[in-house]
């Protein structure tokens, strides 16, 4: 079947427009896609490039507020742009399946996994409920879910994020579709989980000889998954080529800039540590109710240094930040600023103590009040902590805007909704700076941003650190970010620090066992990377088994 000359999916001159601000805007401006069975096409680009829109258009569908206004979509000889809603409905789920970014948001929390699996099968008349159940268990085993016989009878919240994402992939396969559309399916996962999900997805495409479109902004991931890659920008194709060729010899300037993003490195060495650390976390044990989430955590952050805290979700990274800010008073242990012990509860700290530690959040969207203008957002700390009013405040506001490289005249009177994601994050940085702190906690500040934008934020933070001698605690699960910006690294696992020290020491052999797993799970731009890692792990596993 793979020698079939006729493409399974063919989009010609696809044009899609969306309605916003009372007019129609062209989102996709004439894109051609050809896909044969057994092929995986990687669609990459920044947010707003039209990746998802094209992915969904492969089902002949446009998001609410959008419409296909040109070109054609042919799936296995059927013209989807001309097909009736009923015909398309029959195809979706049975012959074309979609795996969304957030499995947690795509499952109905009130039904068991296996029932949701069976729903599509029964709906499309492919089989009975019992057949679907048997098939689900079989598929769960194939994608190496733990306890495949029983796991389907759990509710979505009772399995981990990675398992849920795999369950969703299994669900997409329930009717044995010919075309799979993966829309950023691993973006929300930890690296150690991501690799398992990626392996699952790749195996599936091979086993069932289907075609797939893989949408992502992560180049290293797409390098593992795709046979060919299409780079998109502003709804247009920038470049399309086989994966290996695309990675080794990109032709367009834009593609090259995307490829170069991960190369940012902090320029200067950190200043020598002062005798008193700026922040000292001393033997902290913290708990949410009866569950202890931090076990005897101790570390120091020095003025002008960046400490990166890495680990999977649930490892206690963010909890550590909550203890430092006083949001979660620890059971045992204390936090010292500049040698002084701070009250455990933020409500007992005075203004001056609160001013010292500022926070920048992962989701800039929810970190700024959508009803406040930029002027108010940044101006409030100035007024609150430093008592600035009138002309003095205005002068400082403009200074801060210059510092984050945004034009004061253009942006000060805007609302957050009128800014892009990267700009919002810059506003959050300005708000933190307004308090004139010595210490800033950055909680996954770049993980919601496109790589080019994220790099800009990292560069900005780096420059500010040099100019203002700031100390950062950088919480992240992205090791590339750690490589870029950290001076010291703390590796956390299940609420404990498993390793800490200078960056060069952590990222050089001999590795701690868990650090090794973490490091080896970060995708690289090499298309053979995943195979190599898997082989290596198998070998190691074999050796360990033999050793026992």
């Amino acid at each position: 079947m793979s020698t079939d000359k006729k493409p399974l999916l063919e989009m010609r001159g696809l044009r899609i427009e969306g309605f916003s601000d009372e007019e129609w805007h062209q989102i996709v401006k004439g894109v051609d896609v050809k896909l044969h069975r057994g092929e995986v096409l990687g669609l990459i680009g920044e947010s707003g490039a039209g990746k998802s829109t094209i992915g969904i258009a492969a089902m002949g569908y446009a998001k609410p507020g959008c419409r296909i206004n040109g070109g054609s979509v042919h799936f296995d000889g059927i013209d989807l742009t001309a097909a009736s809603e009923e015909e398309k409905r029959k195809l979706r789920g049975s012959r074309i399946a979609y795996v969304a970014q957030s499995a947690a948001a795509s499952f109905n929390p009130a039904h068991k996994l296996i029932e949701q699996f069976a729903e599509t099968v029964v709906e499309h008349g492919v089989g009975t409920r019992d057949e679907a159940h048997a098939d689900a268990k079989d598929l769960y085993a194939k994608i190496k879910m733990p306890d495949p016989e029983q796991i389907g009878f759990r509710y979505p919240h009772q399995v981990s994020g990675g398992q849920l994402q795999r369950a969703m992939t299994a669900m997409a396969l329930s009717c044995r579709p010919d075309l799979l559309i993966f829309d950023e399916p691993t973006t929300a996962l930890d690296v150690t989980t991501q690799i398992e999900v990626l392996v699952t997805m790749r195996d599936i495409v091979e086993q069932f000889n289907c075609a797939a479109i893989y949408i992502t902004h992560d180049l290293a991931v797409v390098a593992q998954m795709a046979d060919k890659i299409m780079v998109l920008r502003y709804g247009e194709t920038v470049e399309e080529a086989d994966t290996r060729k695309m990675l080794s010899a990109p032709e367009e300037e834009y593609t090259k800039s995307l490829w170069a993003v991960r190369s940012f490195r902090k320029q200067q060495a950190a200043p020598p540590p002062e005798p008193t650390p700026l922040v000292r976390v001393d033997n902290v044990t913290a708990a949410y109710g009866p569950v202890t989430v931090l076990h005897e955590v101790s570390f120091e952050v020095h003025r002008g240094h960046t400490v990166a805290v890495v680990g999977e979700s649930g490892s206690g990274k963010s909890t550590t930040a909550r203890v430092i800010t006083g949001l979660l008073p620890p059971r045992k242990g204390d936090v010292y600023y500049d040698g002084t012990r701070y009250p455990r509860d933020y409500r007992k700290r005075n203004k001056e103590q609160l001013r010292q530690a500022q926070m920048i959040y992962q989701m800039a969207d929810t970190a700024v009040n959508p009803r406040h203008k930029i002027r108010e957002i940044i101006g409030r700390p100035l007024q609150f902590y430093l008592g600035m009013e009138g002309a003095e405040k205005e002068r400082r506001l403009r200074e801060l805007m210059e510092m984050i490289e945004m034009e004061p005249d253009k942006f000060l009177d805007r609302l957050p909704a009128e800014l892009s994601g990267g700009q919002k994050q810059r506003i959050c940085i300005a708000r933190a700076l307004a308090a004139e702190p010595a210490f800033i906690i950055c909680d996954e500040v770049t993980s919601a941003l496109d790589q080019l934008v994220a790099e800009g934020i990292l560069k900005l933070l780096d420059r500010l650190q040099r100019e203002l001698n700031l100390a950062y605690m950088f919480i992240t699960h992205d090791l590339a970010t750690v490589q870029a910006i950290a001076d010291e690294v703390i590796v956390m696992l299940e609420g404990r620090i498993v390793e800490q020290g200078p960056k060069d020491q952590i990222f050089a052999p001999p590795y701690h066992k868990y650090t090794d797993l973490l490091l080896s799970s970060v995708p690289e731009m090499d298309p053979d990377w995943m195979d190599n890692v898997l082989q290596e792990r198998k070998k190691k596993g074999g050796m360990e088994a033999a050793g026992n």
């Binding site: 609410p64 507020g65 933020y346 203004k351 970190a367 009040n369």
Partner: protein, 290 residues
């Protein structure tokens, strides 16, 4: 409360407001026009009416026309005059009552969400207790105990209705309170008043304003029902509820006069709802769903 900020920049705003009005759907334009008309009538009542509010000017139940465009009521007072004054009394009192309900319920609801813990529990349970008693019966009971003066009427209905406002204000605030910008404000050291008024309130305005419109209608109807039952506004004050009751007998003779005050209530209710719908649509972001 809502109008205060707008008056200061009225000059600059009126242009923008007019453009918004032109763009609004027909239903909203109709609604706004009706509301403005009612307000004007209420404000200028003494200049619009041919007679004084409770002046007996003719014999009972006179027919339409002549000196009395809409006839006279059961005591021989001019119907048109009574209708116009009714707008002033009923609408005015309903507005003040709704405002009171929102100050109490809205403030309490947001505070409960912001504070959490036991203050939330205490406030919520008190509200539950108040809500467990049928509202109209409770209102009648309280009015019988405290007497039926206008301040008591406003206070009783305001407090009873604030429970509904509390519930919705708390429910929407709870979703806002978990956002990072609230955490950020707490960490900055902001007090409860700032968080309530500056951080939470602007984000829950759309549902609250919508609720204000609906609540206003309900308060309005409650007052009218109470008046109809004889426990609301007391004679000789003109109000639409008691006007329906007093003239109800005319219906049996095929005269539609008693339906006029009822229609006045109905039209205002519909107009307010049209405007609320439009406002909700504009602010909820329904139009730019992605």
């Amino acid at each position: 409360m809502i109008g205060v900020g707008k008056i200061s920049g009225a000059g600059a705003l009126s242009g923008a407001a007019w453009r918004e009005f032109r763009k609004a759907p027909f239903t909203a334009q109709f609604g706004l026009a009706v509301i403005v008309f009612y307000i004007l009538v209420a404000v200028f009542a003494p200049f619009l009416t041919p007679y004084a509010e409770s002046e007996i000017v003719g014999s009972e139940f006179e027919v339409w026309g002549g000196d009395f465009p809409l006839g006279t009521d059961n005591l021989g007072r001019d119907m048109l005059t009574r209708l116009i004054y009714g707008a002033r009394n009923t609408v005015g009192i309903a507005f003040v009552t709704t405002l009171l309900a929102f100050l109490l319920g809205g403030g309490g609801g947001i505070m409960a969400a912001v504070l959490g813990g036991w203050p939330d529990q205490v406030l919520s349970r008190v509200v539950d207790v108040l809500m467990s008693i049928p509202q109209l019966i409770f209102a009648m009971l309280l009015l019988t105990i405290f007497g039926t003066s206008i301040p008591v009427l406003i206070l009783v209905i305001g407090v009873l209705d604030s429970t509904r406002v509390f519930r919705i204000a708390r429910a929407v605030s709870v979703n806002v309170v978990v956002m990072d910008f609230i955490e950020s404000a707490r960490l900055r050291g902001e007090g409860v008043p700032w968080i309530t008024l500056r951080e939470v309130l602007p984000n829950i305005m759309p549902p609250l304003v919508a609720e204000f419109g609906l609540r206003f209608c309900f308060v309005f109807l409650t007052i009218s029902s109470l008046s109809f039952l004889g426990l609301g506004l007391q004679p000789p004050t003109a109000d639409w509820g008691s006007m329906v009751r007093d003239n109800a007998t005319l219906i049996t003779f095929g005269d539609i006069t008693p339906l006029l005050p009822a229609a006045a209530i109905a039209i205002l209710t519909i107009a307010v709802n049209f405007v609320v719908d439009w406002f909700l649509h504009k602010t909820s972001g329904l139009k730019d769903e992605h």
